[in-house]
Subunit: 230 residues, 2 copies
Amino acid sequence: MAREFATKRMFNGAPRPTHQAIYGELRERILFGDFEPGGSVTLQGVADELGVSLTPVREAVRRLIAGGALQFHDNRRISLPAMTEPLLEEIYAVRAVTEPELARRAADHATREDVERLVTLDFALDEAIAKGDVKGYLRANYDFHFGLYGLSDSRVFLPIVENLWLQFGPCLRVACHRFGTSGFSDQHKQAIAALRSGDAEAARHAVAEDIEQGHLFVLDDLRRDGGVAD
Amino acid sequence: MAREFATKRMFNGAPRPTHQAIYGELRERILFGDFEPGGSVTLQGVADELGVSLTPVREAVRRLIAGGALQFHDNRRISLPAMTEPLLEEIYAVRAVTEPELARRAADHATREDVERLVTLDFALDEAIAKGDVKGYLRANYDFHFGLYGLSDSRVFLPIVENLWLQFGPCLRVACHRFGTSGFSDQHKQAIAALRSGDAEAARHAVAEDIEQGHLFVLDDLRRDGGVAD
DNA sequence: TTGACCCCATTTTGATCAAATAATGCAAGT
DNA sequence: ACTTGCATTATTTGATCAAAATGGGGTCAA
């Protein structure tokens, strides 16, 4: 894995600085990988594993800390924050007033091709659930939501929500792995229908319902098993 | 100024890493200093001016970019984002659903001493207005709002709102300098009264009114003079 | 005058190194 | 057995350096 990354950091084909590539890689691992909530992250550990020097790692990690995806302790030690119930509640409180709004704005811009792309993404999601592919489900769910939100032409709401997903992502991930993909339900079909009919308010409502369902799922898991994980 | 900063970066009295000090310094300049919206920022320019090396500057600037306070272009060049009307509208849209909520949560935690501290801060604000001290007004207004929000015990809302203030701060700053401090009105007294009586809903409403007034002031200024500044 | 091209200064980027700081383990004393 | 103190190790932090990339300026030709 480190070697594959080492090729990517070359400036040849990919005109993207290493620190951005590292940022993306760490994002991936937080959302879909195997970083455990509460686990510690060391700069040189990341640098060694990815085969790069400390400098770009620092910039990437600092960015993740700024977004709340990682936690910077007084000890100057870095960790993936552990989830607590009040923290999860607050994250949901922000999601509840931002993500539906993103959906509403997306509905105002969505073209027919945009909607078709979302249908494809939602189909991939259903397939992942059917196959019991947890990681595939997580990724498809992420892609659907941000495929939708990305239509909103937002410079302020969107990065905030992206960081929120980085904050509760690990928690959702462990909950899903513990629970499996059976019994997952979402409001994606309703959101798509709303976009088709150009009903922004319906799109807003669908996303509001969707994220509330997801929140309650994670909250349940946290209440059931939160004390044990420590 | 660079020398004063150089002393601060020593680990002797201030156990704070240089990159954090630089972050704080750049924050100050964005909110209350003389960075002009749309102006470009260079890493080594900052490093030279502050008398430090590039490494900690990079980390501080990366953090500000992550928060939307600075803008990272495809050219790998960094600038203070220029304000546009749709951007300002979106920033206000997020503020409108986050800051009143912070006030509501603050009201649930505020002690009598907390309220007295806010009264002191608001008095300093009135004094700055009376003296026509624009920078003093900006700082006092910031201190009052975040003195209030800081009572909310928030880990998610608060950093988001801090970053929002960094985004519209330069715009508010130039508007205030163009307009002077006369005629400023706010809802701080109402917010304080709400906190005194423990009326969280009234506190929420007071802050909602306050930031709407502020938003309209900046929006007016942007519409009047936005085209000229380019 | 205009546009293409090349050279140089500025800037960013990533690696490396030394110093500072925090964590860990081990031995000694109570 | 338990704690205290010291030494070792691991990690972060900041400075420095070389390479890559960008931007600007100037020259030259059409």
